[in-house]
């Protein structure tokens, strides 16, 4: 087995993975805004709270891949708003398809953080930060769905290269490189989450001792 990987594969893979991180960042930012509003609305109770609860439930149940194809097909490519083209690019379509997940996650965890805050535990509320960081890395991994609609993120780069390889063994080596690349990013992310949690734990301990 003589595996030949083009010289530009690694730079392309890294550029693709950077796109995964960018998609996740956009999805998380929109999710923070939308999820924050929905979380507050839910806590307010009444009719508005009921609507927010239902909406969060639906968003939680919406499969990302289906949402992506839904957005791709219901927004015309020449859609305009006040004369401005608002049709999302492939990148934005993937990011927006992740918003139902990120917004519902933020709404759930944000509500929990607010409860902790009201219960007099600001450190408990700060657990929101590692939770959001964890969600960010879930979003990075989920953004690989973009390969299905032609977004050249990390997995698309790997699959594009694998398409040219006839032997299964060569493909598996290439896939292993992909798993390693994403695995390093993911494990680094989870290490960050654990570090954040430890830091918050130490703060909590110091607070209690103080």
């Amino acid at each position: 087995m003589t595996l030949r990987i083009p010289d530009d594969f690694v730079p392309q893979l890294l550029a693709g993975m950077a796109l995964n991180f960018q998609i996740a960042a956009v999805a998380l930012l929109v999710g923070l805004a939308l999820g924050g509003l929905l979380g507050l609305a839910r806590l307010s109770g009444g009719f508005l709270g009921g609507c927010a609860t239902s909406l969060i439930g639906l968003m939680r149940a919406a499969p990302t891949f289906v949402v992506m194809f839904f957005l791709l097909n219901i927004i015309p490519p020449n859609a305009t708003l006040l004369g401005v083209n608002v049709a999302p690019s492939g990148f934005m379509t993937v990011a927006l398809s992740l918003v139902p997940y990120s917004a519902s996650y933020v709404a759930d965890n944000g509500a929990e953080a607010l409860k902790q805050m009201r219960a007099g535990s600001p450190l408990g509320a700060l657990l929101f930060l590692p939770n959001v960081t964890r969600a960010f890395f879930v979003l990075v991994m989920s953004s690989s769905a973009g390969a299905a609609i032609g977004v050249t993120e990390g997995i698309a780069v790997i699959l594009r290269e694998a398409e040219q390889m006839p032997a299964l063994g060569d493909k598996l080596v290439l896939f292993a490189i992909g798993i390693l690349a994403f695995g390093i990013a993911l494990q680094a992310g989870f290490a960050l989450v654990r570090a954040l949690q430890r830091h918050l734990g130490r703060l909590a301990l110091r607070d209690r001792q103080g």
């Binding site: 289906v66 839904f70 769905a145």
Partner: protein, 556 residues
């Protein structure tokens, strides 16, 4: 005697005349000349040209020009640069006008306007890359024989070993929405990546977003004249041949259509079409075959264009309607009238779409059930192996879990599909099976980790030596019920991604349906509702499972 001689002479003269007349009528050339002469004569009679509802052939001679609809942005066939028009269709129009002895007056048409402009009498003739299908026979009169034939062609990198349909199964092919050949691609187990415009396909091939693209060969013809494109890509194989027809209006064009029939026969026989094609660098295979056909004595007659042995049939693209298509159409009309919503439900209107839709729903449900079952089974296996006291069992299991957690879902699915295809021949069942295993492994590894962690806590609390292993595993499952349930829900939510490896679930089926039918908004809205409903049901069922497991945990 003189009388007999004169009678014989008269009969001989009539016989010679009859033979000459018959011989003249048997060639398309003679028939065309007769037809054109008669029309010219009619046009030369004072007052004729002022008459309303004038036959179009006569009017062409009255005006001294023929109005031809041609395309302006179809490379190699109809393009315009300032006042200069060029392309195969344009040159055919010039040849037609030249044979009539009039000037061509060009009008720009596109796919949407080429038929209405004929019906509105804005043009006399359209030569605009128009495929002749049976549905269009009710809208225009096509000139026979056809002046060109295109086919759908699959284009890809030269390195890809694709020779026919068996080689495309399981691969993704980039296509344009609404292309009539999409249904044929789908039937060979290829996946579709849809684009709105054909113009983006060459770019997507170049940037390697698409490994393969399918489109009309006349569209790619221009790109293959570009050295860099031709160096990287080639045409793998062709399918779905469509004859192209010049067309005139259905009414008032009988003699014009007949004249064009004869002219088209002559142009094929004499290689006029072929020469024009060569000048414009378009494919000539069809025209070379047609030249042979129209040179045959049986076809080279004035009745040749009506001879089924000589002319090609119109393409029949009509899809069989469902038994309830009428009621669906009535419902769509009712919704439009009462709610103002242009609801379209293509999956209920034609039999191919209906079959795909039913199979898509059934496969989706199988996939969801399979993914849930596989997740639970793998969680037990990986939970048990990760808790094993044997290093040889525990660490490979943990390594597998870390690898599965580190692999994006799409990549895991592709790996599962690649391995499955190396073992089994590609089929829908294999794709569904591979997806079930991949989704089960991904979510089961996470749930298994939770079970293993629960096992650790149980051992720490109770002392493992006193508890039988199976009983301990059962208690660990109960303790990690919330985690297991959350990964079961995740597995159900992940099932649509199986379409990426060709599993024919509902997303895949609806993508196929919308590739050859309209109603994308309604279709994808229905898809979203279906999957949200399925996940909500799974959440409810998993909630009951969690309650049962937690009750079990509560039992001492």
């Amino acid at each position: 005697m003189r009388l007999r001689f004169r009678l014989v002479a008269a009969l001989a003269t009539w016989f010679v005349f009859a033979i000459q007349t018959t011989a003249r009528a048997e060639t398309p050339d003679a028939a065309l000349t007769g037809l054109l002469d008669a029309a010219r004569s009619a046009a030369s009679v004072p007052g004729t040209c002022a008459q309303p509802d004038l036959d179009r052939l006569v009017r062409i001679f009255c005006d001294g020009k023929i109005r031809v609809g041609v395309r302006e942005y179809y490379p190699l066939f109809g393009t315009r640069d300032g006042q200069t028009r060029s392309g195969y269709d344009v040159d055919v129009a010039r040849a037609v006008a030249g044979r009539l002895g009039v000037e061509p007056a060009f009008t720009r048409v596109n796919a949407a306007s080429r038929i209405p402009l004929l019906a509105d009498d804005k043009i006399d003739l359209t030569i605009a890359t128009m495929g002749h299908n049976a549905q269009r026979d009710g809208q225009v009169r096509f000139v026979r024989p056809h002046y060109y034939q295109s086919e759908s062609t699959i284009v890809g990198s030269k390195a890809l070993p694709i020779r026919g349909w068996p080689d495309v199964a399981g691969r993704t092919i980039c296509v344009t929405i609404g292309n009539g050949s999409n249904a044929q691609i789908v039937s060979h187990n290829a996946r579709l990546m849809l684009f709105d415009e054909a113009g983006v396909l060459p770019d997507r091939l170049k940037d390697e977003t698409c490994a393969l693209a399918a489109q009309d060969d006349s569209f790619f013809a221009d790109y293959f004249t570009q050295p860099d494109f031709a160096a990287r890509f080639d045409q793998k194989f062709g399918f779905a041949q469509v004859p192209w027809g010049m067309a005139v209006a259905l009414t008032g064009s009988d003699r014009l259509a007949r004249a064009l029939d004869f002219m088209s026969q002559i142009f094929h026989r004499d290689g006029v079409f072929l020469a024009i094609a060569k000048e414009n660098h378009v494919g000539t295979g069809f025209l070379e075959r047609q030249q042979q056909v129209w040179s045959r004595p049986g076809c080279n007659t004035d009745a040749g264009s009506g001879n089924p042995a000589c002319v090609l049939p119109a393409l029949d693209t009509a899809l069989e309607p469902t038994p309830f298509a009428g009621r669906v159409a009535a419902f769509e009309a009712w919704v439009k009238a009462h709610a103002g919503i242009a609801l379209q439900l293509p999956m209920f209107e034609t039999m191919p779409a209906w079959q795909l839709f039913k199979a898509g729903i059934a496969n989706s449900l199988v996939l969801v059930a399979g993914a849930l079952g596989a997740t639970f089974v793998f969680s037990l296996i990986l939970g048990a192996t990760q808790s094993s006291r044997s290093f040889m069992i525990r660490w490979p299991s943990r390594g597998l879990t870390v690898a599965l957690q580190s692999s994006p879902v799409v990549l895991t699915l592709v790996i599962a599909a690649a391995v499955a295809q190396a073992i089994f021949a590609y089929s829908s069942t294999v794709a569904i099976g591979a997806a079930i295993v991949a989704l089960g492994l991904m979510n089961g590894s996470n749930a298994g980790q939770a079970i293993a962690e629960a096992m650790q806590t149980l051992r720490a609390e109770r002392g493992s030596a006193s508890i039988p292993t199976l009983d301990l595993l059962g208690r660990a499952v109960s303790r990690s019920a919330t985690q297991i349930v959350s990964f079961l829900i995740n597995a159900a939510k992940g099932t649509p991604i199986a379409s990426f490896i060709g599993a024919p679930e509902l997303l895949s089926a609806l993508t196929d349906i919308t590739s050859f039918a309209s109603g994308r908004v309604s279709t994808y809205s229905l898809l979203l509702v279906f999957y949200v409903a399925v996940v909500i049901v799974v959440v409810w069922l998993c909630g009951r499972l969690r309650d049962a497991l937690e009750r079990r945990q509560a039992v001492p």
